[in-house]
């Protein structure tokens, strides 16, 4: 294991530890709920960083997989409320309003919570794999991949809004039961929910890290830098891209499920253009080629956005400032804050090596990572 990897793991562990101890010092249900929400968004950023930063696929529809996970969880939680809240035949309220005679077949398996949880991962993964298969087998890259992911998301969202009788339409699925495991209920405003999210976030971060360090992860990064060369070596480029897309979809799906648990509803806005583009901003600001950078970027930007939009004075001007900030980051910090920090660290490293006159100096100078162009 190289020194760089060790530092990276140490930084990730420190950040996760900091996140996990928050409830020890904080005893405010409202704030805990809000922070749990930001952590979920951090997971979404990790998912995008995998496909965009590591594989070079700008997914403008990352919110699709997030939304699918969210809806799966909401469907399962909705069916748990049935005997209490709704009509005679155990139908969700919006189906009663839309004169649906009986529960549609694809709702029935969601009576089982384990099915719901599994579906929240499997459905987004299937979607991502299918979309990836469709795009990457046809060698769709760059801008066109970005447009396809965007268009596919709008299609899914339009269909969900249109099929009001089965999906709750514009309103989404509201009035949900609490998520529970073996009788222990996760109150959205309790510290248990916060821990649930924080642990899932930690797990996702380290799984994603392991993926990027694995052989497949290295091939994916090679594809990002020189796709044709990797193809000439005989690797199945499309397969590796699909793989990274699926992992990214799984993490986003898990994040979507957690979002439903802490927000207590699912809405078509969870798979909308604004959310998708916001994720892109967070990841770009934090640093797309650093998982922990992207995650922290999401926490900081979404957190600041939340804090400032609640104060009356900054309500309007904040968006303006954010737009400006974003343009400046794109112009002057193409690798985000994490990339800038790494560059500063690299300079110190070089100086140190230069003074001790080590032979590795040449390697550092010609390290292709410093020269790598944007795909």
């Amino acid at each position: 294991m190289s020194g760089k990897t060790k530092t990276e793991i140490a930084i990730c562990a420190l950040v996760c530890l900091a996140i996990l101890v928050v409830p020890v010092f904080l005893d405010d249900a409202f704030l805990l709920n809000k922070y749990a929400r930001y952590l979920v968004l951090g997971m979404l950023a990790i998912a995008l960083s995998l496909s965009w930063g590591y594989a070079g696929i700008l997914n403008l529809g990352q919110a699709t997989t997030f939304g699918l996970g969210s809806y799966c969880m909401a469907m399962a939680l909705k069916l748990k409320t049935i005997p209490v809240h709704t009509g005679p035949d155990g139908l969700p309220d919006f189906m009663v309003w839309n004169n649906v005679p009986e529960l549609p077949w694809f709702w029935k398996p969601f009576y089982s919570m384990s099915f719901g949880v599994a579906a929240g991962i499997v459905v987004p993964v299937l979607f991502a794999t299918l979309l990836g298969w469709f795009m990457f087998r046809g060698r769709v890259t760059g801008v066109y991949a970005a447009i396809i992911t965007l268009a596919a998301m709008v299609v899914v969202q339009l269909v969900i809004i249109d099929q009001q009788a089965y999906t709750g339409g514009f309103n989404g699925i509201t009035d949900l039961a609490q998520f529970d495991v073996a009788g222990f209920a996760f109150d959205a405003y309790g510290s248990a929910s916060y821990y649930l999210v924080a642990i899932c976030l930690t797990a996702s971060l380290f799984i994603a890290l392991a993926v990027t360090k694995s052989k497949a992860g290295l091939i994916v990064q090679a594809i990002r830098d020189q796709e044709d060369r990797v193809r000439f070596f005989g690797y199945d480029v499309a397969f590796y891209k699909m793989f990274i897309f699926a992992v990214s979809g799984a993490i986003a799906g898990l994040a979507g499920m957690l979002y439903t648990i802490v927000m207590e509803f699912a809405s078509p806005t969870f798979m909308g253009v604004p959310l998708s583009l916001s994720v892109v901003i967070w990841v770009a600001v934090g640093g797309r080629q650093s998982l922990v950078g992207a995650m922290v970027g999401a926490l900081v930007v979404a957190g600041m956005q939340g804090a400032l939009s609640e104060s009356e004075t900054f309500l309007d001007s904040w968006t303006l400032v954010m737009g400006l900030l974003f343009v400046l980051v794109v112009l002057f910090l193409p690798k985000g804050i994490a990339g800038a920090l790494e560059a500063i660290g690299g300079r110190f490293e070089r100086k140190r090596l230069a003074t001790t006159e080590q032979p590795e100096r040449k390697d550092v100078e010609s390290n292709p990572r410093h020269l790598e162009s944007l795909s």
């Binding site: 046809g138 268009a151 339009l158 269909v159 249109d162 901003i281 954010m322």
Partner: protein
């Protein structure tokens, strides 16, 4: 027969608006390769300019078209100088930067004139309806159709017959060779961007009487315009014309048989499939890369 003609006219009407909005985007993307997500905001700013000129200075819509074109071209020029000109060697990042510019523009408008809906008066002389082959259509929609065709003709003329157009085509073919022949590529890109932004402003002004004007109106337009450009093939003006026609008619007919939402989803799906199998678009100019 009446239904058929009126369907055709509805489609043409959608198509002409698509064409207006997409033309500027197509020019900018085709020539410079910049993916301008702020295009919708340029359209929105044009609509606000029309509103401001009408309510503050009492100018009619038609009289204000030329000033709006000039104002928006200046805005485009400024954006190119400040931001875009630094990003020509990393084009995928223009998606991000221009999206940020869009956010700034939206919020600036909201701060300056408020977020409520605004309305622009239709020119008096065009507010009647006209009957064609038994189907009635509003005169203003026909006017838009004519203007969009005229703008297309003008753009095509510039591209085809002027010295500027010649340089433009040279750069599109091969930037470095064109540069070494003494063509100032930076200046041409700048003018192209300004022209595209000006056209977007005109599109905004022209659609403003048909729809209410709001800071968010651009978002919908930019997605539609993208689809037109992708369908048409990115370097072909004729492709833009044809694909806006196809998309307009298709949306019109599908909306007639199902509903607007499903029509939109089907059109998007068709485009996704098209990109997969023909990423160069339906109509392609022959370009050496």
């Amino acid at each position: 027969m009446d239904i058929l003609v009126s369907q055709l006219m509805t489609g043409l009407s959608i198509a002409s608006i698509l064409m207006l909005v997409a033309l500027g985007l197509a020019i900018i993307y085709g020539v410079t390769g910049v993916i301008n997500l702020a295009h919708g905001e340029f359209v929105m700013l044009g609509a606000y300019a029309a509103w401001a000129l009408q309510t503050q200075f009492g100018m009619g819509l038609i009289a204000s078209l030329l000033p709006i074109f000039i104002i928006m071209a200046a805005v485009g020029w400024l954006v190119e100088v400040l931001v875009i000109s630094r990003l020509y060697d990393r084009l995928l990042d223009t998606i991000l930067a221009t999206w940020g510019i869009g956010v700034i523009a939206q919020q600036a408008v909201r701060l300056a004139v408020g977020g409520e809906l605004r309305y622009v008066q239709m020119p008096e002389s065009l507010s009647k309806s006209v009957t064609i082959l038994g189907a009635t259509d509003s005169a203003y929609r026909l006017f838009i159709l004519l203007v969009s065709l005229a703008l297309f003709g003008l753009t095509w003329g510039i591209y085809r017959y002027t010295n500027f157009g010649l340089k433009l085509r040279a750069i599109t073919q091969n930037r470095s060779v064109a540069s070494s022949c003494g063509i100032n590529a930076g200046r041409i890109y700048r003018l192209t961007f300004a022209y595209g932004a000006g056209i977007a402003g005109l599109a905004g002004a022209l659609v403003s009487p048909l729809k209410s004007v709001s800071p968010e109106m651009g978002t919908g337009y930019v997605v539609d315009a993208f689809m037109v450009v992708v369908l048409g093939g990115t370097q072909s003006l004729m492709g833009t014309l044809a694909s806006s026609g196809i998309l307009g008619e298709l949306s019109g007919y599908l909306a007639f048989y199902s509903n607007d939402t499903i029509a939109k989803a089907l059109v998007l799906l068709a485009i996704v499939v098209l990109i997969r199998f023909r990423p160069q678009g339906l109509f392609t100019a022959r370009v050496r890369t």
